[in-house]
């Protein structure tokens, strides 16, 4: 089918908006991988927990998701820190392979806990701005999606500043590059691990606040995003922030255009194709060499 330019433009814009959220989810994942060298299998489940927390804040206290953002970032940071210090770190016994299994176990527990507490039902929120539209050229973008996109870019910028311009960021980078060396110069490596894990989880707090006004939450919602986040991390380069951002946007636009021209069912093929091509021709990812 041949589409009018406004339809194609709208599709690209929607892909970019979605890509911003993908990037934010992938950012935490790539940070944790970059420093701890482990894949956090609990990432999707923690996103789900964060989304339910945002939903509960709205339903019980009437706090708007955007207003809840600082609270959620702080809360998820705390949860991530406690989770690492209390569960992931001690149970891994210093073995990366153990961390994988522990995070997988955490995911199973969180998923089933959510099913028990919230049932398998889907929740969607309605806010006064839910149906506000913004015209960007010929495209109509919903206001919450635009806010999500801009919010994602802002969080990426803050994270980059944190890592690039602060002492904590230097310490995190040092641990990521050379654990023993970092330990020798007096860095508390275990604490940096916990802080990094916590920052990665805090990203999910921000993602949940930006995502809920445009999406649903159910105990399975983490799976919807985490697979795509893994693809983005590989595409952008494992451990690369810029890669996560660019990768997220590429995947978002690819998904949108693929869906438009090939149909929503077949449109996902574009993402898989990119994944395979990257693995074949640039296994370190787009920005993998530059980390």
């Amino acid at each position: 089918m041949i589409y009018d330019f406004p339809i194609i433009f709208s599709s690209v814009m929607n892909g970019l908006m979605l890509g911003g959220i993908y990037a934010l989810v992938a950012l935490g994942l790539t940070l944790i991988y970059g420093v701890l060298h482990i894949i956090n299998f609990a990432h999707g489940s923690l996103l789900m927990i964060a989304m339910f927390a945002v939903w509960l804040l709205l339903e019980t206290l009437g706090i708007d998701p955007y207003v809840a953002l600082p609270l959620m970032v702080a809360g998820m940071f705390g949860l991530g820190y406690v989770l690492y210090k209390g569960v992931v770190g001690p149970m891994s016994h210093g073995e990366d392979a153990n961390i994988l299994l522990v995070t997988l176990g955490v995911a199973v527990i969180l998923d089933n806990l959510a099913l028990y507490l919230f049932t398998g039902d889907t929740r969607i929120i309605e806010r006064p701005y839910s149906f506000e539209m913004v015209e960007i050229g010929p495209a109509l973008i919903t206001l919450p999606k635009l806010i999500s996109f801009l919010g994602s870019l802002a969080v990426c910028l803050v994270l980059w500043l944190l890592i690039d311009r602060t002492d904590l960021g230097k310490a995190i980078r040092a641990v990521a590059k050379e654990r023993q060396g970092a330990r020798l110069v007096g860095i508390d490596v275990e604490n940096i691990f916990a802080l990094t894990y916590a920052i990665g989880v805090a990203c999910l707090g921000a993602a949940a606040c930006l995502l809920l006004p445009t999406f649903y939450v159910s105990p399975q919602v983490g799976n919807v995003f985490v697979i795509i986040a893994f693809t983005i991390v590989v595409l952008g380069g494992m451990g690369s922030f810029l890669g996560a951002l660019v990768g997220g946007l590429i995947i978002g636009v690819t998904e949108a255009l693929g869906g438009l021209f090939l149909g929503e069912a077949l449109g996902q093929i574009g993402i898989s194709l990119i994944f395979i091509l990257i693995l074949l021709f640039r296994p370190t990812g787009l920005f993998g060499g530059a980390k």
Partner: protein
């Protein structure tokens, strides 16, 4: 995982939990009591069908609790029902293994499985043991078309449902001067959505509605903007939807957000059309129509049932009703058979004329396992509630059709 305990919805099932816990914790006492009839409940209570599966389970457990409280199966000396709880995890292979485990644990009958794909496989497995299987939800014609003597379905099958949904849309359309002349069908990719969409696309031209496009989407789909844009470009009069819970609600929301101008938003067995959708997403759901299983609102017992379900902190959905009545049908058959032995029980089910229900159809009459005369109704979300609007004999409100521009 199969277990004998009930941990579904805490509030309603607190009493029911004693059914299974009793048999786990105090086997000696259980043996001393009247014999039990074991019902295997094979539902997807985790995975992407978790909500629907949990609703099915809750309905079945409600009926079991009710029957046991009323003295059990009288023709069998007051034998009680015992629920064997299984989680199909929204996966076909797991549904089969759960069925096998329950069969080996002594299940006398099965009820399940919400989805066609799960039901097809699980009934096949139960057939190996010749154990009766009542389908609560699961629309595929194939479920009762394979010649399996042990399989029974109370609700209507796929062909009947889709054909009647087209008749219903046609009836509504004609009553308003046929404003809907074209449609786009959006469906999910599995058997349920695909066969529904295919048959709709075949039937709609016969009632003067041109099908401009049939759009398939994956499960899950994260973003429906593309589909909304495609619909907007082609400007159909109606959008017809056939998909599951999450994607249903996301699609309706996106169509609303993208201001797609349609005269009707009509779903067939819409997985996300329920009372929570009507109540909590009032702006999105308002005037959306769904052709689905629902009670006869003119029957006071139906309204009483809904009150009871809601008082138990559950949502009254068609899954709850259909599973509830599957247990009741089984109970009726056991009373007549006087035994839980397989062949007499299957024969009793096959000759069932169960009429103690409030669905919009008459007594059961199974032909090759399929209840004849079962039908759905057209429901519309109106002012944070669901109202039957068609056919006229069951309608409780006037349909808002076509949609106001």
């Amino acid at each position: 995982m199969t277990k004998n305990a009930t941990i579904s919805r805490r509030s309603i099932l607190a009493g029911t939990a004693a059914l299974g816990v009793g048999s786990l914790g105090f086997p000696a006492i259980t043996r001393a009591q009247a014999r039990t009839v074991k019902i295997g409940l094979v539902h997807p209570v985790t995975g992407f069908l978790a909500f629907n599966g949990q609703q099915c389970r809750a309905g079945a457990l409600m009926a079991i609790e009710e029957i046991n409280a009323a003295g059990g199966i009288k023709s069998m000396g007051g034998a009680r029902f015992e629920a064997l709880i299984g989680d199909a995890q929204s996966q076909v292979a797991v549904a089969v293994s759960e069925t096998t485990k329950m069969a080996e644990a002594g299940a006398n009958a099965f009820i399940g499985c919400f989805s066609s794909a799960l039901g097809l496989a699980a009934t096949q497995e139960a057939a190996k043991y010749n154990i009766p299987f009542l389908i609560d939800v699961g629309v595929s014609d194939n479920i009762t078309a394979r010649g399996l003597k042990n399989v029974f379905r109370f609700k209507a099958g796929h062909s009947v449902t889709v054909d009647k949904s087209v008749e219903t849309l046609d009836g509504l359309n004609r009553s308003k001067g046929s404003p809907v002349k074209s449609a786009i069908i959006v469906h999910e990719e599995s058997e349920f959505g695909t066969v529904t969409a295919t048959r709709m696309a075949e039937k709609l031209p016969g009632v003067g509605i041109q099908v401009k496009e049939v759009i398939k989407h994956a499960n899950p789909t994260r973003n429906f903007d593309n589909i909304a844009l495609r619909i907007r470009q082609q400007r159909p009069d109606a959008v017809i939807i056939s998909n599951y819970l999450n994607e249903y609600q996301l699609l309706c929301r996106t169509i609303k957000q993208q201001r797609v101008p349609v005269k009707a938003l009509y779903s067939v067995l819409g997985g996300g059309f329920n009372i929570r959708f009507a109540r909590e997403q009032a702006e999105v759901s308002q005037n959306v129509m769904d052709y689905n299983h629902w009670y006869n609102p003119r029957n006071p017992r139906a309204l009483e049932f809904r009150r009871r379900v809601e008082a138990a902190n559950l949502f009254c959905t068609f899954e709850v009703m259909l599973s509830y009545f599957c247990v009741k049908i089984l109970h009726d058959a056991l009373e007549r058979a006087g035994t839980a032995d397989k062949d007499p029980l299957i024969n009793a089910l096959a000759s069932s004329t169960f009429s103690d229900h409030f669905m919009p159809y008459g007594p059961t009459r199974f032909v090759n396992g399929q209840n004849q005369g079962a039908q759905s109704v057209c429901i519309q979300a109106l002012d944070r509630d669901m109202k039957v609007v068609f056919p006229a004999e069951y309608a409780e409100a006037q349909a808002v059709f076509p949609l106001p521009t």
